[in-house]
């Protein structure tokens, strides 16, 4: 299935330093957005040459968190004084260029990747990983029914907390790790996202996210030096005293993961870290189990018809699900797997 050479490292489970590296890469990932006010809704006397706002937005952030910045831009550059004074950002809502509603409670990186895979099924459009995602900003009459929640940062925070708790429940069978956090700590998670502050977020998140310390039973034995590496860097874990095994990524019950298909649906199922035969559960096995028509069993020698994007990265099929859960999950704890179709005759060297 994979053309990669077999792994010679003891396990995909990385040293703590590389865990922090991947978490940081995930955290620092950004996507280009082009936000344009719906031309029909621009107030009179607006400066029409400038109604586009470009931003490189963090993947882990949310649209409502961009609103203050966009608002400042419109006030300062585009609108005249009257329009700026009467602007009501609580009525704002966003649509993709093609007309799809953009969800307030989806991480921006997921919105971007989901758009990328939806382009993969439209052969005539020139999709690109690099082009900014074109977003239309509407200034009034939000379709509240379809948005499913009020377009405020507070509602977004509540939804984010709900996702974190759901992820916690999937991992451990209860939400004790989340409910065990003090109010200030829970708020710190959200503040970390708002401020895009890796250390602030991970100071708390390390208490609820599994570790990637090599485990004894399922993976091949850890390298002899691994015990000296058990201490995680301070930025990832200040003073946690939890036993590494209990919190280990392959000791979770399941990994919080969702599969997104082009233009829907979204699939969610229990994803155990280790399969019944004792082998590590991989991305390829997970996709073959759920989407065998797109990812045929490797033994069948049939080619894959699709690929999987995780945090914008085409992820190799032999990536372990447990590792993804510990290193490539979004700030809400979920591994979002966006499946796009390979193009006819396309070559990917």
């Amino acid at each position: 299935m994979s053309s990669y050479a077999p792994r010679h490292s003891p396990s995909a489970f990385s040293t703590p330093a590389s865990t922090t590296l991947f978490r940081r890469l995930t955290w620092e990932g950004t996507v280009p957005l082009e936000i344009r006010v719906d031309p029909n809704e621009l107030p009179a006397n607006s400066d029409r040459g400038l109604e586009c706002y470009y931003i490189q937005a963090p993947r882990v952030s949310y649209l409502p968190l961009l609103v203050p910045e966009i608002k400042r831009f419109l006030q300062d550059v585009v609108f005249d004084e009257t329009a700026a004074r009467t602007m009501k950002e609580e009525e704002w809502w966003f649509e993709s260029d093609g007309g799809g509603l953009l969800k307030w409670h989806w991480p921006i990186g997921l919105i971007y990747d989901n758009h990328a895979i939806s382009q993969s099924v439209r052969p005539t459009t020139a999709a690109s990983f690099f082009a900014p995602l074109r977003i239309v900003l509407h200034l009034a009459s939000p379709p509240t029914e379809k948005l499913l929640m009020s377009p405020s940062a507070e509602a977004c925070k509540q939804a984010f907390m709900g996702q974190l708790k759901e992820a916690d429940f999937i991992r451990w069978g209860n939400t004790k790790r989340m409910t065990g956090l003090r109010k200030a700590e829970q708020d710190g998670l959200w503040e970390g996202i708002k401020e895009h502050n890796f250390d602030e977020y991970w100071r708390v998140a390390s208490k609820i996210t599994p570790t990637t310390t090599p485990t004894r039973s399922h993976s091949p034995p850890p390298p002899p030096t691994s015990t000296s590496l058990h201490t995680r860097p301070p930025s990832a874990d200040p003073g946690s005293t939890a036993a590494p095994d209990r919190d280990g990524a392959s000791n979770v019950r399941n990994i919080p993961a969702r599969i997104y298909l082009p233009d829907g649906p979204v699939l969610q199922d229990l994803v155990p870290p280790v399969l019944e035969d004792g082998s590590m559960h991989t991305l390829g096995a997970f996709l073959t189990a759920h989407l065998p028509l797109l990812f045929p069993d490797p033994h069948s020698k049939k080619p894959n018809l699709a690929y999987a994007l995780i945090q914008g990265v085409p992820a190799p099929p032999d990536t372990e699900m447990a590792w993804l859960g510990a290193c490539m999950a979004g700030a809400d704890g979920w591994v979002n797997i966006c499946v796009g179709l390979l193009r006819e005759g396309a070559r990917y060297p």
Binding site: L267, D269, L293, N304, A306, R343, G345
Partner: protein, 127 residues
């Protein structure tokens, strides 16, 4: 500002598709198969929390492809709740799912003894 070369970024060779006439067609057909709605019904069991009124009947069969939002709306109707009346819903006394998640997904991950247990409250309980 489109990138001149579509999919210019390389994908790992493990994902590479073979050239061939019907590959894209086959892929589209596969997608259509996965888009079919799950018409099965699952049992949802509503449980009141705190001061929330108890329902006379609290077992309902709900089509699995429904979104959780539909469950919330159904519950509001059954309780005679007016728009704006506060109602908080939880799974397994633990968390509020995203309103766009489907009943099928929630059932697969969180059902207990063949039921999806939905707790409801008039105040935020596990917020």
């Amino acid at each position: 500002m489109q990138c001149p070369e579509p999919n210019a970024r390389t994908l790992p060779s493990a994902w590479t598709s073979l050239d061939g006439g019907n590959v894209m067609h086959e892929a589209h057909e596969a997608l259509e198969t996965y888009k079919k709605k799950d018409v099965n019904k699952v049992v949802v069991r509503f449980k009141a929390v705190g001061n929330a009124p108890i329902m006379k009947q609290n077992f309902y069969k709900i089509t699995a492809s429904n979104r959780f939002q539909a469950v919330i709306q159904f519950l509001r109707k059954e309780l005679g709740w007016k728009q704006g009346d506060p109602l908080f819903t939880y799974i397994n006394l633990a968390f509020s799912p995203a309103p766009d998640d489907t009943v099928a997904n929630l059932f697969k991950s969180f059902s207990t003894d063949g039921h999806l247990i939905v707790n409801y409250s008039t105040t935020a309980a596990w917020g």
